[in-house]
Symmetry: C2
Subunit: 370 residues, 2 copies
DNA sequence: CTGTTAGCGCCTTCAG
DNA sequence: CTGAAGGCGCTAACAG
């Protein structure tokens, strides 16, 4: 029988030798059951003096119930797993912030795994989180690991996807209304007088958010014959590629007003870097509109027009979604699509400055999103 | 609608429907102990056929041991708690990234709490993490909760502070070598010909990193009588205050070259915003050097000179520090101070452009940091 | 080589 | 109103 620290030194009762419910019971001279009831808030069933003694004992011992043991018994851990594609991506972090806030409000704690956009690490993270018996999973997936996620969900673990859908997985999702947002973004460019548009994105890899944005981008252009558009899909970590792509785009759009729609904040960053290397200015040399509002959006050049996502809310709602499932909501999978917000800035403000289209038909009648 | 397992089998309420070691044992027709040994990697003690059967059973059942139960028994959870002052702060996230990477390498998982720079929430978070029996704590403290941290550390829980010291707590710390970094930053400004410097910071609130930077800033100026300096400490979330402060500084430094040292990335951001509102340009109207390298440092105006912190390494080392303690390292508290790196950019590059001091004595002899 | 037994800290019947 | 007993999933003695 190992000697318990608490028996030797009442002050040294934590992590290695944390006080247990038994210690409290002894200290308060009641049974463990009674203490447990106190912890469970069943005050109606406890006599005043007993309550007081327990309270005192807890304070004296600095006792804090073990979530581990609790979880083992009750079958819940109050732990929510979060798998994030890339913590360094401001989008991920902003979502994380919202999720964390919601969790804290409801007494949950986040277990975080970063996958660094790596498929294998995503799988590992999923497994790790499962081993911790997280009660729910918020996943900003990298897109390829349907099976493990599918499997965990099938086993009854609530899973909510954020931003990116997963082909073959029919579950809850919270994200931006990409179709409407991309439509709005593209129309804004057209209204501002740009007639040659390029949708710049990192390799799609089947990632739904990128694809949806691109699809809507093209759809809008189809309805505006006076404008032309193309999609530039490239490895943005290769600086040379971006430079070439932009240069090529500009060269081929001689005589027309060119503008770029950057598919994400990360892409926006690389576009801006390339523009700087090429000594090109927005909006005169090239218009620019980027998805994701960033700290610095307003500060670069004349300011960058962005399509802001309600990131905090996305994270918050993602947790709420999980919570609903945990409380027994069995309704069919939901997709919560939140509206984006266009923030017009200098990077799309052409010199003629009226905001009136330049030989382009006025904005189409608003239709239901496609 | 998929039927939830938990609805069918009340005993399977834990992380719904997970196979347990008992299931594997039954499936493989061995005892739980044997399976446990297999899991523990004690292959030398297991016959080939048994090994094979267990392996197969595990695969068939998709079994994964429960860290909770394991932790309860063995007394460790492989969980590291992280308390972050503000997840939206790029510094925090960058550190988090390094810590997460290190954790993953060693089979640990992060439990994350964000305090939103709030004292009470920091306390709550600490308590929550404790209830999860985290094995160690990485804390980017808000600075006021010495007692709980002190107490947890005293109880044998390894704690490592990141970036900010905690008055009254003598424990491990990983962070920037603030003295040397601030010295380097200040000297750079002087060398570049600025003769009136302002150290701009959010309220110090006794936060060590801010104070150390400020102290070194002033120390350097003391040794350069040709230059003058002051400290501007203000609530940076109040836009008006920053504008006033900067305007005041500029007004009083007529005839001298003024420059600002922003104490952190967050401050840098607000300074840049203010400059924009005031229609001031760096470096001609005002020089600018900011602590923390940010995504956009190179992109604003002529580029912002920064003092980059090795954030990833700080996080990584913080975890390693914890690991050493977990492995029994009982040596006295260590302070791991990592060097910063100055990244000179346009915001401190005066028109005369030679990089030679402007009527200011050459750089002082390098001394040991004070 | 393998199995049996006894808990880790807690909560939940079921008896007082 | 209170307590005793059993067990969550797992591992660590102790037998065989």
């Amino acid at each position: 029988m190992p000697v318990k620290l608490s028996d030797l030194d009442p002050s040294a009762v934590v992590a290695p030798g944390r006080a247990t419910i038994a210690d409290v019971a002894r200290e308060a001279e009641v049974s463990k059951t009674t203490v447990s009831r106190y912890l469970g808030g069943e005050f109606a069933v406890l006599s005043e003096p007993v309550q007081a003694r327990i309270e005192a004992a807890i304070a004296r011992l600095g006792y804090q119930p073990s979530q581990m043991a609790r979880g083992l018994k009750r079958g819940h851990t109050r732990l929510i797993g979060v798998v994030v594609a890339d913590v360094l991506n401001p989008y991920s972090v902003a979502v994380l912030d919202g999720a964390e806030a919601a969790c804290q409000q409801h007494g949950y704690t986040l277990a975080l795994c970063n996958t660094g956009d790596d498929e294998a690490r995503e799988r590992q993270s999923l497994a790790a989180l499962r081993s911790y018996s997280v009660e729910g999973l918020i996943v900003h997936t990298q897109g390829r690991n349907v099976q493990p996620i599918q499997q965990m969900a099938a086993a009854g673990l609530p899973v909510v996807l954020v931003d990116r859908k997963l082909a073959g997985f029919d579950g809850d999702l919270v994200g931006l209304d990409n179709h409407e947002a991309a439509r709005q973004a593209t129309l804004h460019l057209i209204e501002r007088g740009f007639t040659d548009l390029a949708f710049v994105t990192a390799p799609m890899h089947g990632l739904s958010s990128r694809q949806e944005r691109e699809t809507s981008f093209r759809q809008v252009l189809t309805r505006h014959p006076g404008c032309q558009g193309r999609t530039l899909e490239l490895d943005i970590r290769e600086p040379g590629l971006m430079d070439d792509a932009l240069r090529g785009f500009l060269a081929s759009s001689r005589g027309r007003r060119g503008a770029v729609v950057a598919a994400t904040g990360v892409v926006t960053l690389e576009v801006v870097r390339a523009l700087r290397r090429l000594d090109l200015k927005t909006p005169d040399d090239l218009g620019l509109l980027g998805f994701d509002e960033l700290d610095w959006s307003a500060l670069v050049g004349p300011g960058i027009t962005t399509l802001a996502q309600p990131t905090y809310e996305i994270g918050f709602r993602a947790f709420e979604c999980l919570l609903a499932r945990l409380r027994g909501d069995l309704s069919p999978p939901r997709q919560i699509l939140l509206p984006g917000r266009l923030i017009p800035r200098g990077s799309t403000h052409l010199a003629n400055g009226t905001g009136t289209p330049l030989g382009v038909p006025p904005v189409e009648k608003r239709r239901g999103q496609g």
